[in-house]
């Protein structure tokens, strides 16, 4: 049994307090005084380094939010988030969940709620990119099922898909802040922010996709996500169900089905 030394446990505990709570006193007592920097300043180099790594990572996850609030504010806000929500796994890609909720709770965002909706969209993009690869069903097999089997069929969205509804025009805001130029790009101040937006984000092979959909498509995909059968979908969407289903399959928004 390889038991860690007690002195090492204590040292790492104190170091961690300095890095994530800015309580440098205890670990500074264990650090040699040398040169122009005090022990606390030397510990501070590590706190700054850890926060710098995580802040830069958060800025890469939330690039539009970073632009919207400005780098200086984003860095300071990230510091608060990092101290209150330090990473808990060695997988850096896991980190950053809850950033939008943390924004929502912070008074600085009370009058600009739409920015945390942009953060939710950016987190959705990150999660979609890292989602597991999946095999697409052969949908022609649907036609070989009995009518009873068809009506019992349930459809699956890609694991990478995020179906978002926002009371703000977050898709347009996101587009405006992309480096690529495209036709119809309008300045942020000309966007009517308060309008319902329905967006889906998913990954197709090695391409991240993000498109606006209409309210009915959003309701349809939400119903599919709830594992509603084709019979239930038909009842909810009536004569529109065929078009909605065919369009979803064609765009890759539905990738598989099962029946009973």
């Amino acid at each position: 049994m390889n038991t860690p030394p007690e002195s090492l446990k204590q040292l790492q505990t104190h170091f961690s307090e300095a890095v994530f709570s800015d309580q440098r006193g205890l670990i500074a007592e264990s650090v040699t005084q040398q040169g122009a920097l005090s022990a606390e300043q030397r510990v501070g180099i590590y706190r700054n380094s850890v926060h710098g790594i995580l802040w830069q990572y958060l800025a890469s996850l939330y690039p539009v939010c970073n632009q919207l609030v400005g780098e200086q504010f984003f860095e300071g806000f990230s510091d608060l988030f990092i101290d209150q929500h330090p990473p808990t796994t060695p997988f850096l890609a896991d980190y950053g969940d809850g950033f939008a909720a943390f924004m929502r709770e912070h008074e600085a965002f009370a009058k600009i709620r739409w920015i945390n909706q942009v953060a939710e969209l950016e987190w959705a993009r990150h999660q979609a990119w890292h989602a597991t690869n999946q095999v697409v069903s052969d949908f022609s097999l649907l036609g070989t099922l009995t009518e009873e089997q068809q009506l019992s069929a349930q459809f699956q969205l890609p694991d990478s898909m995020w179906v978002l509804h926002s009371p703000y025009a977050v898709h347009q805001v996101w587009l405006v802040h992309q480096p690529e130029d495209y036709g119809g790009k309008i300045p942020l101040e000309e966007i009517q922010l308060q309008q319902d937006d329905y967006i889906i984000v998913w990954r197709s092979e090695r391409q991240l996709q993000q498109v606006q959909i209409n309210e009915q498509q959003w309701q349809f995909l939400s119903a599919v996500r709830q594992n509603k059968s084709l019979a239930e979908l038909s009842e909810q969407f009536q004569e529109q169900v065929g078009v909605l289903l065919a369009s979803a399959i064609q765009h890759g928004w539905i990738i598989s089905f099962r029946h009973y």
Binding site: N2, T3, P4, P5, S7, L8, K9, L11, Q12, T13, F15, S16, V19, F20, S30, V31, T32, Q34, G35, A36, L37, A39, Q41, R42, V43, I45, Y46, S49, V50, I53, L54, Q56, Y57, P86, P87, T88, T89, P90, F91, L92, A93, W129, H130, A131, T132, N133, R203, E205, R206
Partner: protein
């Protein structure tokens, strides 16, 4: 130019171009922690790269020196990745990165004591058993020294790798950064290294912050580090060498030019 054994770190910004153009690079080092998830697009990219180039896996997630138990998920995913890409080397750092479940994603130094040597060497042996292969341990830059340390960093490093019976990744830039920060002669460090254990060398750029040098991996390798590298090549011979550049990642050509410069030094100075 003759062949040399100097590679570059694979950065995501360059993957599409490397896959498309397949430039002549002896080998690539991969930040393994970014590619661990099976059936992910990240690992798909890596498997495509692995078909074209020899790879080494380099991580920060083992947290070798931590008092926390090893992360089971991390080791099982790393083992699976090793089995898939069959890397030349698997490396991590002589430091700790996490404690009490809080992960810094940074390289925090250890105190240089006999009990730390025994503990950390035991952890490395356990890591090697879990991964069923030798791992290679790298020296880190440091900005402080602990009062409880009773030996030099190179004495500590040497004792750990000998007791753990593992490989050694010599980061020449880190030696230089720590030497300047703690006022020792980098050649004393270099000359004390157990030559037969050195599997790989790292080179990178630091930043001079006035009061200290900071290991940023965000710039060209500096002249004093090139000079120290030449000394290392004289002492060690042609050890596979890697250019690390993690921040403000430049165009691929700049990384390849740095690797060629390291290669020229190998050809000039190796015995």
């Amino acid at each position: 130019m003759e062949e040399h054994s100097c590679g570059i770190g694979l950065r995501f910004e360059h993957i599409d171009r490397i896959l498309k153009e397949q430039p002549n690079i002896p080998w690539l080092e991969v930040l393994s922690d970014n590619y661990l998830n099976p059936d992910s697009v990240q690992q798909d990219y890596l498997l495509s790269i692995a078909e074209l180039y020899p790879l080494s896996l380099h991580g920060v997630g083992m947290s070798i020196g931590s008092v926390d138990p090893f992360n089971e998920d991390y080791f099982s995913l790393l083992k699976a990745l090793i089995d898939r890409v069959n890397p030349q080397r698997v490396s991590d750092h002589l430091c700790w990165t996490a404690v009490h479940g809080r992960v810094t994603h940074d390289l925090i130094p250890l105190p240089y004591t006999d009990e730390t040597i025994r503990y950390v060497a035991g952890r490395i042996r356990e890591a090697q058993e879990r991964l069923e292969r030798e791992i290679v341990i790298e020296n880190v830059s440091s900005y402080l020294q602990y009062k409880q340390s009773v030996m030099t960093e190179w004495e500590f490093f040497t004792a750990v790798v000998e007791e753990a019976d593992c490989g050694l990744l010599l980061d020449v830039n880190n030696i230089y950064v720590s030497a300047m920060n703690h006022n020792f002669d980098p050649l004393d460090y270099l000359h004390a290294i157990p030559t037969r254990r050195v599997r790989q060398i790292h080179l990178a750029g630091y930043e001079d912050r006035g009061t200290h040098l900071l290991d940023t991996h965000g710039n060209h390798v500096t002249e004093p580090v090139w000079d120290l590298y030449a000394q290392a090549v004289k002492q060690l011979g042609n050890i596979p060498t890697l250019i690390e550049w993690d921040n403000d990642v430049p165009e691929l050509e700049i990384l390849l030019a740095e690797a060629d410069k390291a290669g020229s030094i190998q050809l000039e100075h190796a015995a």
